[in-house]
């Protein structure tokens, strides 16, 4: 049904092709998985297949045929009932203020009558298990709910093919598996589904085949179901530090916090010692980012206190030199016009001598693979490179405590390994790290302890084995590492 015939594509602004000579045939009713490292051309392929990129946006050879229709021979608006694309960031795709209007948007554009519109909206929401969301405001939806509404809004147009570009990259594991169930249901109704992902355990069992994209070409084609291999990130689980200082570097005591009357954190107690890497896990909205902002002194607890190095945290400026935080969105924390200046932004503000800062810059940039591009604009970097730059910009002033808020969203394994290597090195030398992650395998291998937040409370904390054993008993199966699942 989907035929890619000798497809090559090069962006006008680039010298190297993004896609090279791809021949692929995806049959009706398949769930087809496309994986590949960052920059391998996955999103470009998705946009070309959906008709958003074509000869007008670069140099293109070959054809994409869906149901015999050359998707680049007709205006994009005419492909509405044939192929739909769900993008990575569900929030940015929403163009109206409430769920029903969002689903109606495409139907209104197509001139569908009101009665049929109501029927299609109900059908689409029921198909994704989101009928209960129909009267909700978009701003009140969680990440998982937003993604279900994004899928429903395309589904209401009844496309034969649904392409999803990293639909679960910003979702917690529970929501990711729910999206897997939704896609399974749609597929059983006859929709052909193409999923592009880095982490694919949530869909592997449902997919019929999988293509691996490498440097713009299909390097391998596998049959599914496949079990996602947790690559040998580290040869063995991190060895716990031999001696821990008796005094905690960070002490969070019975902290609670509410946003406009809604309690986000409830009686949270946690400590981190020097040389410790602690994982912080939990669903989207469980209070992880709020806790990090509180540690930084950016939010004040309504009850309890946060102490850093024995002193109560009152204002950010008092601890910023010693506590480095990497925020979620890479673009929100890039301020300068060159990579070198960006890395030196912190050292300059903190008054670190120029020679010392330059020496550190050289080391950090080399370790994180950014040395050769020091004078380039940081905004020209790929998502993975921007993430490495964010980490470099904090590591360079060598804080005592690292707060990393989901640094691996949308990252391939190579990037994860590079970032983890430098953080581990700092922790081995006596720094501490609080790592927010949705990846149980990574947490299991890299963290000395894990704290799991559920609806603002610490459900369990302790060594990884103890935490996963408790999560297993609590039926939080989404958060179990590969070895635990199915055991």
């Amino acid at each position: 049904m989907i035929d890619l015939e000798g497809l090559s594509f090069r962006y006008r602004s680039c010298t190297l092709p993004a896609l090279q000579n791809i021949d692929l045939r995806i049959a009706d009713g398949e769930i087809f998985l496309i994986i590949g490292e960052s920059g391998s051309g996955k999103t470009t392929l998705a946009k070309i297949m959906a008709g958003f990129l074509g000869p007008g946006s670069g140099e293109m050879e070959g054809k994409v045929l869906i149901d015999g229709v050359d998707v680049h021979a007709v205006p994009r608006q005419n492909l509405v009932g044939l192929v739909g694309l769900v993008q990575q960031d569900p929030e940015s795709q929403m163009v109206t203020l409430n769920v029903k209007d969002e689903l109606a948007f495409g139907l209104e554009n197509m001139g569908v009558g009101r009665r049929e519109m109501e029927e299609r909206i109900s059908w689409a929401l029921e198909s994704t298990g989101s009928i209960g969301l129909s009267e909700r405001q978009i701003s009140s939806l969680s990440g998982g709910e937003l993604q279900k509404v994004a899928i429903s809004s395309i589904l209401a147009l009844r496309p034969k093919v649904l392409i999803l570009d990293e639909p679960t990259s910003s979702l917690d594991p529970r929501s990711a598996w729910e999206i897997g169930d939704v896609l399974g249901r749609l597929n059983s109704q006859g929709v052909t589904i193409v999923v592009i992902e880095h982490r694919y355990s949530w869909i592997a069992a449902r997919a019929s085949r999988m293509a691996v994209l490498s440097h713009g070409s299909v390097s391998a084609l596998h049959s599914c179901p496949l079990i996602e291999k947790t690559q040998a990130r580290s040869a063995a689980r991190r060895q716990p530090p031999k001696t821990l200082s008796p005094d905690p570097l960070l002490l969070i005591e019975h902290v609670s916090f509410a946003y406009d009357g809604t309690e986000v954190l409830k009686d949270v107690t946690l400590d981190i010692r020097r040389g410790e890497m602690v994982g912080l896990m939990g669903d989207n909205g469980s209070g992880k980012t709020t806790l990090l902002l509180m540690i930084m002194g950016m939010l004040r607890p309504s009850r309890g206190q946060v102490k850093f190095a024995g002193r109560r945290v009152e204002v950010t400026s008092a601890i910023a030199r010693e506590v480095g935080m990497v925020f979620q969105n890479p673009n929100h924390q890039i301020f300068e016009s060159s990579i070198n200046d960006e890395i030196l932004f912190g050292p300059r503000n903190f008054g670190i001598p120029r020679e010392e800062a330059d020496a550190r810059l050289s080391d950090v940039a080399a370790t994180l693979g950014l040395r050769d591009r020091g004078e380039s604009s940081p905004h020209a970097l790929s998502l993975g490179e921007k993430r490495r730059l964010n980490v470099a910009s904090v590591v360079v002033y060598e804080p005592h405590l690292y707060l990393l808020d989901e640094p691996f969203v949308g990252q391939d394994q190579g990037n994860v390994d590079r970032i983890m290597a430098i953080v581990r090195e700092k922790v081995d030398r006596g720094a501490s790290c609080l790592l927010v992650t949705h990846d149980p395998d990574l947490a299991s291998e890299s963290c000395d302890r894990i704290a799991f937040l559920k609806r603002g409370r610490v459900l369990v904390q302790g060594p990884p084995d103890h935490v996963f054993s408790t999560l297993d008993k609590e039926d939080e199966k989404w958060y179990l590492p590969e070895g635990w699942r199915g055991s």
Partner: protein, 271 residues
Amino acid sequence: MVSARGVERLLSVLGYADGESFAHRLDPLTKIVILSCFCALAVLARSLCLMLAGLASAFILVWRSRVGLRRILGRLRFLIWLLAILFLLQVLFTRAGRPLCGLDLRAVGIGADLVITSGGLVKGAVMASRLLMILISSIFFVTTTEPARLACSLISHGVPYRYGFMLVLALRFIPIFQLEANTVRRAQLARGLKIDVPGPRALVRLARYTFTPLIVSALERIGTISVSMEGRGFGLKGRRTFLRESRLRLCDWAVSLGSLGIVSAAVVLIR
């Protein structure tokens, strides 16, 4: 000074508050007429009694709409200072009217007398009431009007769809940009950028470090939005249909004409 968090909380309180009151059920166009009437009264009225009557009506409207008047007023406490300054300036510098008391300031080196007059007091009260009336009637409009219904009403009553849709997009993304600006501010603080350093150079630096990440983020969003819109047939030639339609009911006509009539009569007869 109002903190960024304070502004964020204020804006969250001043958004639409879901409800079933009579005001909520009125068509947004009717509420635009009511808001315009209050603004016209605030600008045209000179009589303190008329101004106070208008102000009382605005308060009653917000109170009857059950949108949390006490909570809103709590968030508006900082405006009391603004109103007080406005009032004081009029009292101190208006000489018209009957002198009530005076103070000889020549002894402290200011070569003029300070005279407080009845005219100054009235003018100060009128000016403060004027600002407060515009503010309270705007709160009435914003808290009782669902933005999506506002856009639908405007489109149904003749505003071209693209302009109505622009309003919806703006309402959809303004809160997101506010949150992003807050995150950028936090990221600056975390990496040691000092913002309380006075001087134009520091201000320019701060603006640069704030706008650069926000613009990059906005450009990325624009790319995603345009794919999302194009992928759902935005701009497709042919007649566009609408899920919702807005029609003025009898009560909308009655309220609109009543408001226009009362305000016109009051301004002409009393002013």
